[in-house]
């Protein structure tokens, strides 16, 4: 829709008290006189979202008079369904929540604020384009599942059941992973008290019998190039044979491996063949009653040592989650097989969350003895002896005469392929889970920051070997697990169309892994479906716009390729950026990064933003009405401002808020244009960045903050004070704090004085 074919209609709502607080005629004049909207296409209604109001708009659209509706009423966050007119672009001006609900009615300042928001909407309508979807050449809807264990098999079966073709890759010669070798599984069905039959054989058979699933054993992915719905994966078999396959989405279900027991000498591993890991013990159970490796006799006394390597700063800092239940299961199995066997579980915290508490009780009822304490050492005296600092008896106890000791070893995620070769690069890990918790202060001396290794890095090769500008790995967190770091959206990795599930993401048991894999299968299906329709994935689900780059103006600075939180932009050999639109999540961080405005979306451009900023009427210095621009993240800061309005919190009428997709999409040019057009200050409101980030585009707000650290240079070149621009981390829940935050900034601006660019 070009400017010539646009037929904007302006619809002003005087309801909800807007008409009482602001003279509607003045607003109409803004539209008709300043912006030359024909009077017959500028209408005021006292109940625009009511049936009559909506019918009025619909009539104009149906008559062909209007193909763009500018609604100056309530917040764009509400009445989305009512103000949806298929095929018609809707632009909203927020006169209710952010004008009349936070300023004094009838004042000039309130009217000016409302008029400015209308102007911004009118300019937005002029500048905004109707996005045309991205068209790929063809779309693959096939799903690649990497890993043939419980998670991978489940994901493959569930996707195939939905009718999707699946390519399942397994690096070993058999399907089923670790869990296929388990004698029994921990209970996940009521009454949750008995070890349950291992149904892995059935799952393996179901996958083998499914015609939509192609299984490749002894195979690794050696290269992944392309983008969602058009990935090309290079598969290398053990014998060196290389093939290529095309897939649409990827599920990474590479699972886990037991922690290297050779590092557990302090728990007796290696001192006797009868000190074994829980995995080794499980293998014994699977082949019949456990026998001592030393003499082949059935053990009469067995001790399980929990947290063998887990929750240990020298080994794995996290809790491996499944080991408590796994030991309970093994202990119950031993007692069932021979009730005269003495079985001990030495633990520090018994972690059987949820209904697994039932299983804990079942083990207790089965006569398993639980000893809470730290293991001080394991020796091969008097059979085997475990020295325990028994915290409940409050004495050091030698647990002597043991026939076997089982170490409940932890889970190490297969986020990388382990390599022996020292020359392999370490993957870059981010997101440190040990970032400190904020406290008001300490009564005494400030303690040292919590110890423990902040980052577990495993030497290893990438699993998918992504041919992305941003590296071959699916991002790995500092605790060694793969993305995601979201609580609300656990499937959202930073590599679009690639989903991780099962223990590669978080330590989890079989039941949870199966559920996680089912969810991942849905996400993969959703991805190929949405993308083949040109629609964006979470969080801007359904958005058709995507970044377009004008290479003629590109300076090859590479900022866009570096900053994209999703690795969507690659580089040509000459150093030009190439956008992979199907990897893109539409945050606009590339647009904000570009110093020369070469990147734009059909409906979101730097030009649109700066034009909207400039649409605001900046009063002369003499009027002593400062203007402050707020660039507010659409998801958090902008709703926070709405919340302040809903609570009728008075805020300064001198601020003008422009919602942005993500603070990452804000170009320095928006800031410099605002200042050169006379705004006295600029507040940038984004989400929390850092290890506990809340940015839905992961790095958007962090990138904006980095960029704004350099704003000083811009300000200096304009001979302006650095205080005029400030970045804030604002959550929706900060609504209450906004008056204070904005009030303080206004004071700062007052003390710095008016912008000398005013009126120029």
């Amino acid at each position: 829709m070009s400017a010539e074919t646009k037929k904007p209609g302006v619809y002003l709502c005087s309801g909800c008290g807007i008409g009482d607080a602001v003279p509607m005629a003045a607003l109409e004049k803004v539209a008709t006189r300043e912006y030359k909207i024909p009077a017959e296409r500028c209408k005021t209604h006292d109940y625009l979202c009511g049936e009559e109001g909506l019918a009025m708009i619909r009539a104009d659209i149906e008559s062909g008079e209007v193909n763009q509706a500018i609604i100056a009423a309530c917040s764009p966050r509400v009445n989305v369904d009512k103000f949806r007119f298929d095929g018609t672009q809707v632009v909203r001006a927020n006169l209710r929540e952010q004008v009349i609900w936070m300023t004094e009615p009838g004042k000039d300042d309130t009217e000016m604020l409302a008029a400015d928001y209308l102007r911004m909407a009118l300019v937005e309508a002029r500048k905004v384009g109707l996005p045309s979807r991205y068209e790929g050449e063809s779309y693959s809807e096939r799903i690649l599942v990497v890993g043939g264990g419980l998670s991978g098999l489940t994901a493959a079966r569930e996707a195939a059941t939905m009718g999707y073709e699946v390519l399942l890759i397994e690096s070993t010669s058999v399907l089923g992973g670790h869990s296929r070798r388990w004698s029994k599984r921990t209970p996940h069905l009521p009454p949750y008290r008995e070890p349950q039959p291992n149904d892995m054989e059935e799952l393996v058979a179901a996958v083998k019998g499914e015609s939509r699933i192609k299984v490749c054993l002894n195979t690794r992915v050696t290269k992944t190039s392309g983008a969602p719905t058009d990935f090309t994966v290079e598969l290398t078999q053990e014998d060196g044979a290389v093939t290529e396959e095309r897939v649409g989405a990827i599920i990474m279900a590479t699972g886990w491996r037991p922690y290297d027991a050779s590092k557990l000498g302090h728990l007796g591993y290696g001192i006797s063949p009868d000190v074994v890991t829980s995995v080794q013990f499980e293998e014994m159970l699977a082949t019949g009653a456990p026998k001592r490796r030393s003499d082949g006799n059935a053990p009469k006394t067995v001790a399980f040592l929990q947290c063998a390597g887990s929750r240990d700063d020298d080994h794995l800092p996290y809790c491996s989650s499944v080991c408590c239940s796994a030991s309970l299961k093994q202990a119950i199995q031993i007692r069932e097989a021979d009730p005269s066997t003495s079985v001990y579980i030495v633990y520090e915290e018994m972690r059987t969350p949820g209904v697994a508490e039932e299983f804990f009780r079942a083990a207790q009822a089965a006569g398993v003895i639980f000893i809470k304490g730290k293991v001080k050492g394991v020796t091969a005296q008097d059979g085997l002896t475990v020295k325990v600092d028994d915290e409940l008896l409050r004495e050091e106890v030698p647990l002597a005469g043991l026939d076997m000791v089982v170490l409940a070893t932890g889970m190490v995620p297969n986020a990388v392929l382990p390599v022996d070769d020292d020359g392999e690069p370490l993957p870059e890990c981010d997101i440190n889970p040990m970032s400190p918790i904020p406290v008001a202060g300490y009564a005494g001396e400030q303690p040292e920051a919590p110890t423990g290794q902040p980052c577990v890095t495993y030497k290893g090769a990438p699993i998918l070997n992504l041919q992305y500008r941003q590296g071959p790995h699916v991002p790995i967190l500092a605790d060694g697990f793969s993305d995601s770091h979201f609580i609300c959206f656990p499937y959202e990795t930073r590599r679009t169309g690639i989903y991780t599930c099962g223990p590669v993401r978080r330590p989890m048991d079989m039941a949870e892994s199966a559920e996680d894999a089912t969810g991942a299968a849905l996400k993969a299906i959703q991805a190929v479906r949405a993308i083949s329709q040109g629609r964006a994935l979470h969080p801007r689900s359904g958005d058709l716009s995507f970044p377009k780059i004008n290479l003629n103006a590109c300076t090859k600075c590479r900022r866009c390729t570096v900053e994209c939180p999703f690795g969507a932009i690659d580089e040509t050999e000459e150093g030009y950026p190439i956008v992979n639109p199907t990897r893109c999540r539409r945050c606009g961080t590339c647009m904000g990064a570009c110093p020369v405005r070469t990147i734009s979306f059909d409906n979101y451009t730097v030009d649109m933003m700066t034009s909207m900023i400039k649409a605001v009427e900046v009063p002369d210095e003499e009027e002593e009405k400062p203007r402050v621009l707020i660039l507010a993240c659409q998801n958090d800061a902008y709703p926070a401002l709405d919340m302040a309005g809903i609570a009728r919190t008075p805020l300064s009428p001198y601020v003008r808020t422009l919602p942005v997709r993500c603070l990452g999409s804000v170009s320095l040019l928006c800031v410099s244009d605002a200042l050169s057009s006379g705004y006295d200050g600029v507040m940038l409101m984004g989400c929390k960045s850092g290890d506990d980030y809340q940015c839905h585009f992961v790095r958007g707000s962090a990138m904006a903050q980095e960029r704004m650290m350099k704003v000083g240079e811009t300000l200096q070149s304009m001979m302006l004070e650095k205080e005029r621009v400030e970045t804030f981390e604002i959550a929706i829940a900060d609504a209450k704090n906004l008056p204070d935050i904005i009030g303080k900034f206004m004071e700062t601006i007052d003390s710095v004085g008016p912008n000398p660019f005013k009126g120029m």
Binding site: M350, R361, A365, I369, F370, L392, L393, V397, A400
Partner: protein, 203 residues
């Protein structure tokens, strides 16, 4: 049928004693379910007077500490308020277990320590006089068994416990009523003693 009490174990966590307790003590079958939360000892109006308290006693049973358990004051000190039994999240009959252990201790010749013995004598005297236990009578007899002045001293020192017992509804402030059929009770007690003695002779 009661099995003989196992020999004192040579090492900690020998399960012989624990198993014996599970099999032979009233309520013993649920001791293995104890999760060491401390609800019992914490609910006990005289928890701070017990050497181990029920929770630790259960741990000691599982650790095979026969001597320590049977010679502890805990099994004698129970005032039978049943707070522990009612509140135990694992529904262990704590009161019954302690009581049964005490009777085992007597049968096995674990003479209670001097103060405990005095306490239990006082307990019995209260029963035989009033047909029921009354904490005030029991403690009064118990304290004054040490002599008049010492009795006052002990009583004053234990005032906080007394007040807690009153709060727990385990101790009234008025003189106890005699059980209506105190005579019948004495007959029942005598019969019970006979049965117990027969049992012991049989084991």
């Amino acid at each position: 049928m009661t099995k003989p009490l196992p020999q004192t174990a040579a090492r900690k966590y020998d399960l012989g004693f624990a198993q014996w307790v599970y099999d032979n003590i009233e309520g013993g079958d649920r001791i293995s379910l104890c999760m060491q939360c401390g609800m019992c000892s914490g609910s006990c109006p005289i928890g701070d007077q017990m050497d181990n308290g029920p929770r630790k006693t259960f741990m000691m049973i599982r650790a095979g500490m026969k001597e320590e358990v049977l010679s502890s004051s805990t099994i004698w000190n129970c005032t039978q308020c049943y707070n522990c039994t009612v509140r135990c999240p694992r529904q262990i009959k704590v009161t019954a277990v302690l009581q049964s252990l005490a009777s085992v201790a007597v049968a096995e010749g674990y003479a209670p320590q001097k103060p405990t013995l005095k306490f239990s004598k006082a307990f019995w005297r209260s029963v035989s006089w009033f047909g029921k236990t009354d904490e005030r009578i029991v403690t009064a007899i118990y304290y004054f068994s040490y002599g008049l002045m010492e009795g006052f001293r002990l009583a004053m020192a234990n005032l906080p416990i007394a007040s807690r017992m009153v709060k727990a509804g385990r101790m009234g402030l008025l003189l106890p009523h005699r059980t209506k059929a105190a005579g019948d009770l004495r007959a029942i007690v005598a019969e019970a003693e006979k049965i117990q003695n027969r049992k012991r002779a049989g084991s």
